[in-house]
């Protein structure tokens, strides 16, 4: 009995340790999501030549918290004839998966939640799971707009996941590992954006489509479907979808900087440095590009989107993969 109690105590201490570690990852992530919304609104405003949010706090710096508070206080409405359990479950699932995916992302040498040997596969698997949140929400809210929006969104995410996977394959064959740490370390001399430039552009565009951002924001095309799968959601449900979406955006740009921009390493002639700062800097740069594209480009039509995914990205990334394999075998890199 004493042994059992001691074991339970050790186990509880271990669980507490993991919980604190997870909290240290999640809270900065949520704060950065909040400030990302502010960044987006400010940047869009300056592109449109207006002021943007500037009332709450100093230069509107507290605006996202005010928005969050508003969404938190509002009444949660569950539509009649909706499937209650699944309707509530869907935003929670989306949000949890968007947090869960961060546990394999390294921020510096040895600062990582779990150093999986197959981190890349894990991220692919979790991002394929996050489709469920969207499908479920569309089906359970019992509305035509939501259902059509969710079907569209699921089709879009599945088809761009294929091209995303094929692009990642080329990066993997260059680095020779499925581990994020080793992928970043293999870019110490040259970032993959230089030898694999076309692939990096395609990865960026696929990332836009995968996170349902403009110009591929068909799931919430306001003109056709009121706001897609999140039409029936109000208050906290909507906030969770929103947080999940923006978390995925940050994740995608972080992934871009890990795969193509050398992660936390930065070297330029005599200057070389590796720190948290560089990963954050590169991620923010890609995020600014995301926002810029939203302000600059009109929305795609759905058949154009599918054509871009299946008829252009898929064959091109596959043929580029074969080219890279041939190139590396030719220079005796692989064997």
């Amino acid at each position: 009995m004493e042994k059992f109690l001691r074991n339970m105590f050790v186990f509880l201490v271990y669980v507490l340790y993991i919980f604190l570690k997870a909290l240290a990852l999640i809270i900065p992530l949520l704060v950065s999501v909040a400030f990302l919304t502010l960044l987006e609104r400010k940047l869009m405003a300056s592109i449109h030549q207006r002021k943007g949010p500037n009332v709450v706090g100093f230069f509107g710096i507290l605006q996202p918290f005010a928005d969050g508070l508003k969404l938190f206080i509002k009444e949660t409405i569950i539509p009649t004839n909706a499937n209650n359990l699944i309707f509530v479950l869907a935003p929670i699932l989306t949000f949890i998966l968007s947090l869960f995916i961060w546990c394999v992302i390294p921020f510096n040498d040895n600062s990582i939640f779990v150093d999986l040997e197959i981190g890349v596969l894990f991220t692919l698997a979790i991002s394929s799971l996050s489709i469920y949140g969207i499908i479920i929400s569309g089906w359970s809210s019992n509305s035509k707009w939501s259902f059509l929006g969710s079907l569209r969104s699921a089709g879009q995410m599945i088809s761009y996941e294929v091209s995303l996977g094929l692009i990642i394959l080329s990066v993997l064959i260059c680095s020779g590992s499925l581990n994020f740490n080793e992928i970043v370390e293999s870019q110490r001399n040259v970032w993959y954006i230089f030898p694999l430039f076309p692939l990096s552009v395609m990865f960026f565009i696929s990332g836009l489509a995968e996170t349902n951002r403009a110009p591929f924001d068909l799931p919430e095309a306001e003109a056709e479907l009121v706001s897609g799968y999140s039409t029936e959601y109000s208050a906290m449900g909507f906030a969770l979808f929103f947080l999940g979406e923006y978390g995925n955006m940050i994740f995608m740009s972080c992934l871009f900087s890990l795969y193509f921009l050398g992660g936390w390493n930065f070297s330029f002639y005599f200057f070389s440095n590796s720190s948290y700062f560089w990963l954050g800097f590169k991620t923010t740069f890609i995020l600014v590009l995301f926002v810029w594209i939203r302000a600059a480009f009109p929305r795609f039509r759905y058949d154009q989107l599918m054509r871009l995914g299946w008829k252009i990205f898929l064959p091109f990334s596959l043929s580029w993969f074969l080219f890279i394999v041939g190139f590396l075998i030719c220079f005796d890199y692989l064997i």
Binding site: F4, R6, N7
Partner: protein, 202 residues
């Protein structure tokens, strides 16, 4: 100890949810139950140390096949089934499978559920085994090594089989209608002012 407990918990839960797949009223619910079964089985694989296979199953079964099933069933608009009939028709068959799955659980010594032998202390959870970390090859490496060294012809043949089946599906389902107008984007982009607009004198 804790790992064993979680392993047993997950195996029991996976059996319970596989019952749900069969016995739930709403077909969409039973698809969800199927997905949960997949997830639990994948967790079992992770506990057994086959993390590469687990991730592949997660991508293929949960990420692709589960979504496909869900899509089809949501689009078909299936009626909610009455449970009154046909429950007893498969009883014998299902009992046989229950027996089989419980054999597996008995193999895992479910009777020793609360039996504690390990002398865990605090350090075991924070201890890094350096021998293990140096001489450990990852799952992905091992599978790739064996397929590349010993089974590469078979691997290629299975790839060709998949390609043939894919092309077969395309041939069976491809139907191009000619009676509708299409957009040719290349043509649209390549068109210029001079080729499309002419000045004429009247």
């Amino acid at each position: 100890m804790v790992e064993l407990f979680i392993f047993k918990l997950f195996s029991i839960l996976s059996i319970i949810f596989s019952f749900c797949v069969v016995f739930l009223n709403n077909p969409v619910y039973s698809i969800f139950a199927l997905i949960v079964v997949f997830v639990f089985v994948i967790n079992l694989l992770i506990f057994l140390g086959a993390e590469f296979l687990a991730m592949l199953f997660l991508i293929v079964y949960v990420g692709a096949i589960g979504v496909l099933f869900l899509f089809v069933i949501m689009m078909l608009n299936v009626k909610i089934r009455n449970l009154n009939f046909s429950l007893y028709r498969y009883l014998l068959f299902s009992l046989f499978f229950i027996f089989l799955s419980f054999l597996i659980l008995i193999n895992l010594r479910i009777l020793n559920f609360f039996y504690i032998t390990c002398d865990n202390n605090f350090l075991n959870y924070f201890f890094i085994d350096f021998y293990f970390s140096f001489f450990y090859f990852s799952n992905a490496f091992n599978i790739g090594y064996i397929t590349f060294c010993y089974y590469s012809p078979l691997f290629l043949i299975s790839g060709i089989l998949l390609l043939v089946s894919m092309i077969g599906v395309l041939c069976l389902t491809l139907h191009r209608r000619n009676d509708i107008k299409r957009q040719f984007i290349y043509k649209q982009i390549q068109s210029s002012f001079s080729s499309h607009i002419k000045w004429k004198n009247f």
